[in-house]
């Protein structure tokens, strides 16, 4: 599973992207975030409040209950501020 981080999520995690092989407990967006928080202090800091981040799965906005598959591209980022 490919993970992408943007804006302050990226700077807090410390990397822009990584490829992970999550455990079986990761079935959806919410459980992915739970698991990611255990990977490093940076991940824990970036994702400590899931309400502060937005998630896209395969480049579409996704809710916490969105199911995940091994080949998905999952991006985690703050609310957008373009325009």
């Amino acid at each position: 599973m490919k993970l992408l981080y943007f804006a302050w999520v990226r700077t807090r995690v410390g990397i822009g992207e990584e490829t992970v092989d999550p455990p079986a407990s990761v079935v959806d967006v919410a459980s992915l975030l739970d698991w990611l928080r255990t990977r490093s202090p940076g991940h824990a800091e970036a994702l400590k409040d899931p309400k502060l981040v937005r998630v896209a799965v395969n480049q579409e906005f996704a809710k916490p209950d969105r199911r995940l598959a091994a080949g998905d591209e999952v991006a985690i980022f703050p609310p957008v501020t373009g325009g």
């Binding site: 943007f6 700077t11 896209a56 906005f61 991006a75 501020t81 373009g82």
Partner: protein
């Protein structure tokens, strides 16, 4: 048409391309967003726009398609820049052309309102108090929500 690019754009040429040679267009409305030198009381030296290549284009195309479905439009345009921008520089341009001005106004505002909350761009501001990521503005959410709650005004 949608474009995501680092370079500046020529508003005149874009507007000319939008309506050029057509005689069924009654009005063209455009919005051009610029970098301001002040934000929340702090002076801004420059701004860097990060985005999510791939998703950005998909989202902009979806927003444009939504506008084309809601209003009778002859043409639409969204251009959004990324990278480093200084105060006074253009960030974004949206424009719509229609036989009727109300459709052009409503759809142009819809494009920028939805873009502000749905297109994956993030602003990093360099201010005299240091660099910081711009926080999302609840007023942008309200502006976008308007287009969910209200039907577009009657087509003219």
């Amino acid at each position: 048409m949608i474009r995501v690019q680092r370079e500046d754009f020529d508003v005149a040429a874009e507007l000319a391309a939008l309506s050029g040679g057509r005689t069924d267009i009654g009005g063209v409305v455009s919005f051009v967003g610029l970098v301001r030198d002040m934000a929340g009381g702090a002076a801004i030296g420059a701004m860097t726009l990060e985005h999510y290549p791939g998703m950005t284009e998909k989202q902009l195309a979806a927003i444009e398609a939504e506008a084309l479905g809601r209003w009778p439009l002859a043409a639409t345009l969204i251009i959004h820049r990324y990278g480093r921008l200084e105060p006074g520089e253009r960030i974004v341009m949206v424009a719509t052309a229609s036989a009727h001005r109300d459709a052009a106004f409503d759809s142009c505002r819809f494009l920028i309102d939805w873009l502000k909350t749905k297109a994956p761009f993030w602003k990093l501001e360099d201010t005299d108090a240091g660099a910081h990521w711009v926080a999302a503005d609840a007023r942008d959410d309200q502006a976008a929500a308007r287009w969910i709650e209200e039907k577009p005004s009657e087509h003219r």
